[in-house]
Symmetry: C2
């Protein structure tokens, strides 16, 4: 079973080395220019250093800071009821609308670590604030990695100070590396249009010892935004909120958006969405054991909620996900998942006249399927990864 | 990866040859006696024959009939909105409370087969009614197997007539074989207490070409029941409705309960539940690629709905299911799934003081885990299978 997965992964790597996945689904605005992904939006600096949380001297602490006090920001945090310490620090101890900087570590999620974990997350945040000479409430904190293990706070604060000393406007790649867990590679993207730059770094659905996937994303712009929170939520609604790997919500998910307005131009329509969708598809493509990405489009649903429910039922069906892996244009599984999502109603039979599934059988790395419910005008779509033997291997062959 | 799965499967087979899985969770009432599972409750006869739908001459048509016109019955049918033809025939053309007999075939689900499929399901039902000299509305029909393929109705009606000619009170095993798809073995159970017998035959979550699992269950008794529908739904609520393999709802799920009252004694408390729970756990144990069964108990939830939601989130989490396979006592994954089910609330941290997960690391074929939410008095539990490389192999290595 390994051969196709590895072959497919190698093919993905060949397609585009960096970012390794150029998606057919990203609609960049006319005239957009792609910069080196290490390049941050003007006015932002970052760094990544190794403090010893990860083995082999890999970078595991990152700091990203905005030079200007005129920043507007927004935070989107996991809604998981058992959220990790850094999430609770961000919820309770930060001015979400005026975040100047963020300190991040990988290798330890500081989750299920009790009161000490909360104090450690605060100490990490305070170390960054002190080194940057910022109000602590203007500094956010994010962590990803092992859960249930005390954080080596001495190592982390030393790393934070070292990172602050080495901040650079072209270290987006080092910062992206510092937030990786089992990601196959760093995920970052920088686009420019009409004198406005948007840069972003993300890490995704790689395994986290001992077990679950966290999504972190940091996005910066020198464009002007009226309402940062609204701008971020609108863009997430068509990117990060349209993806699923295994339908699991992490304890640590964090997205931070910062806008300085220093360019003196409004953020162009679609630029934020393009950057976030590119990274969202990369996260799915880099899902645990994933070899390819599907997009399911639900058409002619009764209403938006119904369209969404059916799309997620299909995208999260292990039978559809194994069909994506197995190159099996199996419309029956799509019909069954849709029928399940509409349980209690009678839609007659959802047969091949309603379902386009032929691309499942192709060798394409990105596969589009669709279903027409014939019940109204609403539409929804979701991006999802395949379910492969590697997923099982990664998640079952871990030993506590 | 194959070795542990096969070893575990062999172990299951050694434990109890027939029924091969004696569950620790089944609480049979005091004094209960187990009969040969081929033995039907008095007043019922069954048969299984081969009509050629399945390869290799395997039995694929079954008929089960009640001798007495005094029968009370209840049908529980899938709520899938894209239900198969036999489900729609049962919904619209049967007297659910007075079912004397059922005709079943495996090898073809007669799903997504259009108007012709509906006519075929009716013809199959009518052939059984004619051979049994019954009102057609007193005969139910159930089918399982390939979807989207026209039914060979000539073969099926020939098989139905042959089955009716061979009905026997001790052919529960042949009938159970006739409804199998990729089940590892027939599933049937007959218990007697206080002069009342309950017999049942089921098939479960084996793969069905081209793709999804159907559960069929037929249960008979000579005990007296006041309200057959209430008795069935109450028993299902603590058995078949407490299991999950891959959270997928089939287009063909059917449960038929028939009670004659001929014993002149009321159905003893717990007897129906014990038979159905035994078969339910066997269905989970025989899930696609499954090597062992978990039971997650949620305690001290705020209310029943919350307890149920958390239990299902844990039981359906692919991370928990791979931990069950991998013998990984990974409480972090249980915490994460519970936190996801309670999204939007803040329960603090769900750590090892709240979660019992040690049995995951054992070699037991049946594993119990639990979580205390500390929010109230409500409880719920769900039985689930592990997620294994065989699940992927079965579902991905199918070629249309």
């Amino acid at each position: 079973m390994e051969a196709p997965a590895n072959a497919q992964r190698d093919q993905l790597k060949r397609l585009a080395p960096r970012p390794f996945f150029r998606s057919r689904w990203v609609r960049a605005p006319e005239g957009v220019e792609e910069l080196e992904p290490a390049q941050l939006a003007p006015g932002f600096r970052a760094a990544g250093v190794a403090c010893g949380l990860k083995r082999g001297g890999a970078t595991d602490v990152g700091v990203l800071a905005c030079d200007s006090p005129e920043v507007r920001s927004a935070l989107a945090l996991t809604r998981n009821a058992a959220a990790a310490a850094p999430i609770r620090v961000c919820r309770h101890e930060c001015d979400a609308g005026a975040i100047r900087a963020v300190a991040v570590n990988s290798g330890n999620a500081n989750a299920a670590t009790g009161d000490q974990g909360y104090r450690d997350a605060l100490a990490m945040r305070d170390a960054a604030a002190e080194a940057l000479k910022l109000d602590p409430r203007a500094v956010a904190v994010a962590e990803t990695g092992t859960i249930g293990v005390p954080l080596d706070i001495e190592a982390v604060t030393t790393g934070v100070r070292e990172a602050v000393a080495g901040l650079s406007p072209s270290a987006g790649d080092r910062f992206a590396e510092a937030i990786m867990t089992t990601d196959r590679g760093p995920k970052s993207c920088t686009l420019r249009l009409d004198g406005v730059t948007v840069s972003a770094q993300a890490k995704g659905a790689g395994m986290i010892e001992p077990g679950f996937a966290t999504m972190l994303c940091f996005v910066q712009t020198d464009g002007e935004v009226g309402d940062a929170d609204h701008a971020l939520r609108s863009a997430l609604a068509v990117s990060m909120e349209r993806i699923t790997v295994d339908a699991q919500m992490s304890t640590n998910d964090t997205v931070l958006f910062q806008a300085t307005g220093a360019a003196g131009e409004p953020l162009p329509d679609g630029l934020l969405e393009a950057v976030l969708l590119q990274l969202a598809v990369e996260i799915v493509a880099d899902g645990e054991g994933a070899t390819r990405v599907g997009r399911v489009a639900v058409r002619s649903a009764g209403d938006a909620e119904e369209a969404e429910r059916v799309a997620r039922a299909i995208a999260n069906s292990p039978l559809v996900k194994t069909a994506l892996y197995g190159r099996d244009s199996n419309w029956g599984r799509i019909s069954q998942a849709a029928g399940m999502a509409l349980a209690g109603e009678d839609v007659g039979e959802l047969g091949p006249d309603r379902i386009q599934a032929a691309e499942l059988a192709s060798d394409s790395a990105e596969v589009e399927i669709s279903i027409a419910l014939g019940r109204g005008d609403a539409e929804a779509h979701v991006y999802f990864s395949d379910l492969t033997p590697d997923y099982i291997r990664i998640n079952a062959e871990y030993t506590t």
